[in-house]
C-alpha cells in the first residue's frame, strides 16, 4: 500500500483525524490529506518544528518517537517510526491512545523499504522447505 492509500484508509477508519501528512526521513512530504501541497507542507513544517522543540526538552534521551499536544481547539499528534513520520490534527477532546494507534497502523501499512520486506518472506520460505 502506498502512502496515499494508507492515508485514505486512515481517514475512513478514524473519525477523529482531521488532517494528516506522511513525511520521509529527510522531511519531504510523501502524502497528505489536504487538498493543496501548500497545506500539507505547512502541516509537515509544523510537525518538524514540534519534533525539534520536543527534542530540546530532553537532549540526552535520543530521538523523539512521539509528540502530542492537546489544546481546547484540538489535538496535534506526531509519530516517528521506521524512518518515517506521520503528523495529524484532530478536533477537541481526542482519545489520544486511539489516535496514536490509528497513526501507527497507517504508518505500518505503507510499503516498507525492500530490505525490510524480504526478511519475513525468506523466513517463511525456509519454514516451508522444512
Amino acid at each position: 500500500m502506498n502512502a496515499d492509500q494508507a492515508l485514505a484508509e486512515l481517514r475512513e477508519l478514524s473519525s477523529q483525524v482531521a488532517r494528516a501528512v506522511v513525511l520521509e526521513d529527510g522531511g519531504e512530504v510523501l502524502a497528505g490529506t489536504d487538498d493543496g501541497p501548500d497545506a500539507s507542507q505547512a502541516l509537515a513544517a509544523a510537525a518538524q518544528a514540534l519534533v525539534a522543540a520536543a527534542g530540546e526538552l530532553h537532549a540526552t534521551a535520543g530521538d523523539v518517537s512521539r509528540a502530542e499536544v492537546e489544546l481546547a481547539q484540538g489535538g496535534f499528534f506526531v509519530l516517528r517510526e521506521g524512518g518515517r513520520t506521520i503528523a495529524a490534527t484532530t478536533g477537541p477532546g481526542p482519545t489520544a491512545g486511539l489516535v496514536m494507534y490509528d497513526l501507527r497502523t497507517c504508518l505500518n501499512a505503507i510499503d516498507a523499504k525492500p530490505k525490510r520486506r524480504r526478511a519475513p518472506r525468506k523466513k517463511a520460505d525456509e519454514e516451508a522447505a522444512e
Partner: protein
C-alpha cells in the same frame, strides 16, 4: 466526635463534587513527548515548555 466526622465527610464530598463537576468540565490541555530511549515527558499548561509546543500546534489547529 461524630459531628466532627460528619463535618470532615461533608467537606470531602464537597471537594470531590467541585473537582468532578466544575474542574472536570474545562478543556484539558496537555502535551506529552516520548523518546527513543523509552522515557517520556508530560507537560501541563503554565510551563514555558508547554507554551512552546502549544504555540507550534496552534499554527495548524483551527482558531
Amino acid at each position: 466526635m461524630r459531628k466532627l466526622l460528619r463535618l470532615a465527610l461533608a467537606t470531602g464530598l464537597a471537594i470531590w463534587a467541585w473537582r468532578f463537576f466544575v474542574r472536570g468540565r474545562g478543556p484539558h490541555e496537555r502535551a506529552s513527548v516520548a523518546y527513543a530511549d523509552g522515557s517520556d515527558v508530560v507537560l501541563e499548561p503554565g510551563s514555558p515548555e508547554f507554551d512552546r509546543l502549544a504555540s507550534i500546534a496552534r499554527t495548524v489547529l483551527p482558531a
